[in-house]
């Protein structure tokens, strides 16, 4: 492939695609000072290595990328090369504008995308939770970028739709790879433990089974079955378990009001909390608090 550099407002190829900030392929044959300084942008940046070896700092972490590897840089993360120098080699990159700066969410759910709302939320969640920005051996990403370039340059019939589909496809590919890469696929107890830690860290969030399954790198059917087998509970019931257990600790501490406890532990309302709590324990939260209050 030849080099190219498309930029929003400069390249007519991007006229129909306001969300694409930049799309390029570069063959770097010489080393220039300050050719790749650390920068923070509000774009979501995807880099794909075709040739060479690149020493990069992504979000304060040092990474080495080889051909076939991809990197994903979230809006607001800093990214640049070691010594600010772009290494010799060939690489392609794509910068996408996001609706709002992360981490407020809704990163890629621009009008251009045909992903459903819930798919979008799940993908965003996984990208935001992800702490390993380098995707190893993702050759398919290279192929999608190639197709994307062909569509943009040739502008054949239906290309506007195809371009946006390819972007969706790229995000799906990256998300799936991320969930798989973070899990060995061999140690379910350990994977489940990691998931539990994530749930506890953000208990107030309304977790869906799709989100949980994606974090583990499984489809929802397999995920349901594995969790049930391992824990004895469906994923959502296991989550209720954690919620009530945490709520009990707050109730016993005596210094937080019940509505706050309900919302902090992920119930929709104090009513929802009360009903669930009573069904399981026979006590309403305030009765339970009372029997555990300091003895006079």
């Amino acid at each position: 492939m030849n080099q190219f550099h498309l930029q929003q407002e400069h390249s007519k190829e991007l006229q129909l695609f306001e969300h694409i900030a930049e799309f390029a392929l570069k063959k770097n044959n010489t080393i220039h000072l300050n050719s790749f300084p650390t920068e923070v942008t509000e774009c979501l940046r995807i880099y794909y290595i075709m040739d060479g070896k690149f020493n990069w700092i992504i979000n304060q972490q040092h990474h080495i990328l080889y051909p076939g590897d991809a990197a994903l840089i979230l809006p607001g993360q800093n990214f640049g090369a070691e010594n600010n120098v772009l290494d010799i080699g060939t690489l392609s990159w794509l910068h996408i504008y996001v609706d709002k700066p992360a981490p407020a969410g809704r990163m890629i759910s621009g009008k251009w995308s045909s992903l459903t709302k819930s798919e979008n939320l799940t993908i965003e969640k996984i990208l935001l939770l992800n702490n390993a920005p380098v995707l190893l051996k993702l050759k398919e990403a290279g192929l999608i970028l190639q197709d994307l370039h062909t569509e943009l340059v040739n502008q054949e019939i239906g290309y506007a739709t195809r371009v946006n589909h390819l972007l969706d496809q790229l995000f799906i590919l990256i998300t799936r790879q991320l969930t798989r890469q973070n899990n060995s696929g061999r140690d379910f107890p350990q994977t489940f433990m990691k998931l539990e830690q994530r749930l506890r860290k953000n208990l107030a969030h309304q977790w869906t089974v799709e989100e949980m399954a994606a974090l583990v790198g499984l489809g929802t059917t397999a995920f349901n079955e594995k969790v049930k087998n391992y824990s004895g509970f469906s994923p959502l019931n296991y989550l209720i378990n954690i919620r009530i257990s945490e709520a009990i600790k707050f109730l016993k501490k005596q210094d937080m009001n019940i509505t706050d406890i309900a919302l902090d532990t992920g119930f929709y309302s104090s009513q929802h909390f009360s009903t669930t709590f009573k069904k399981l324990t026979g006590y309403t939260p305030s009765e339970f608090r009372k029997i555990n209050s300091p003895k006079k």
Binding site: R186, I244, S245
Partner: protein, 508 residues
Amino acid sequence: MNCIITIELGTNAVRVCAFDLQANVIGYVKGSYPTFHAEPDYSEQDPEQIFITMLYVLKNFLTEKIYPKKYKVDCICFSASMHSVLAIDKNGVPLGNAITWSDNRGKKEAEKLKSSSLGKKIYTATGTPIHPMSPLIKITWLKNNDKEKFKKTYKFLSIKSYIIQQLTGEYFIDYSLASATGLLNIHTKNWEADALQYAGITADKLPDLAPVFHSPGKLRKEYQTSLGLSAGLKIIIGSSDGCLATLGGAVWGEGKATITIEDSGAVRVVGKKVIQDEKQRFFNYLLAENYYVSGGPTNNGGLIFEWFAKQFGDFKSLFDIDYSIENLINDASKVTAGSNGLLFLPYLLGERAPIWNANAKGAYFGLNINHERQHFIRATIEGILYQIYSIGKTLEEHRTINSLSANGTFASIPFCTQMIADIFNKPVNIRKNSDSIGLGAFLLSAIEMGIYKNIDEAARTVVLPDTYKPEKQNHNIYIKYFKIFERLSTKLFEDFEEISNLQRMENG
């Protein structure tokens, strides 16, 4: 129709089982809870999550499996893992998580006490080996390292004591669990003054002692209502998992021992006498009515083979470890006993009985150019079972063992059960799909309800046929390699220590 429910508060999960009054299993269900490792040596569990998980599982079980079959629950009997410590304040509120048996933070405290003459005296009185697992050491650690929590503590409970207090309002510990704390004199059945003093506590910091048949009180009304249980329901405090697995394990009487291998493992015998071991290698726990369960525990059971499967097994689909293990066992059976001279020391998690060396490590030994993948697989299994044999063999210095009964997920894999028979050169019996702990808890309840006259009669109802006969030829091969295994396990003492120090430095 009437039934008895047993609740086991296990290491990773609560298991609820229902029996009819003829000891038939009506139903079974489990619910897991996590173990947290805030630091490498720490193992903790959330007492509230254990409580809620138990309640949730029990409620669903009753409404889905028991009530539709028109059963009425007469009695609920508890069992639990040994050695847990949960500190609570004067309002009964937990001061953080419970510390579980596998927690090793008290290593230094244990080493110091074990090598002293006081340590020897305490071991002789309490029957619990001086080890970080023991609540004696855990409380001592809190005294030395978490003074604020130690000072605030109203009582040091076991997880089971806490669960029972939540249900009934009363603080109790049964003699079985108490005998595994390192704080109870197993001869006089009172808290041991020397041990209490060493831990820096008085007896009122511990729950009240009660026999395993004791009923600590009525189930709180709200739980009666939410669970649909009657006011006449009897709660029985029960015993420990180890003691009940022995009671339900068909090893009553002379010449028998039970082998349990789950993640970890143990070899146990039961008798009216305590085993006094000079080298402090065995535990002696009180079952009931002057019966003692004696034996030795290992850290390295089925968990080690799972480790092997995760690293070297084939995975057909994500997380399908059962498939992987099945294939490994199949491959292991393609080579002959002794793995052509490849030996495996399974001490990946350090070891307890009989070498009691926290620094012990794993090793493959005797490797030559002709060894293949299958030899590694078989050697790994053989190493895990040689270790079990080394406990059994040491026990035989004190007791005669003529036959064995095996239970637990790893020991009941047919290939492993046969290998146990061959290595020990003794017949092994096994119950299919067995839950010896639940059955033991059922027997306790049935005695209390008058179905059996006493523990002797109840235990003798559990009889199993010998299903695995030893093959002499294999035994002769195993026994030759075992000699080297045994020597290596102690010979490498200094090297184990040195490499442990290096590994510790490496891991910061």
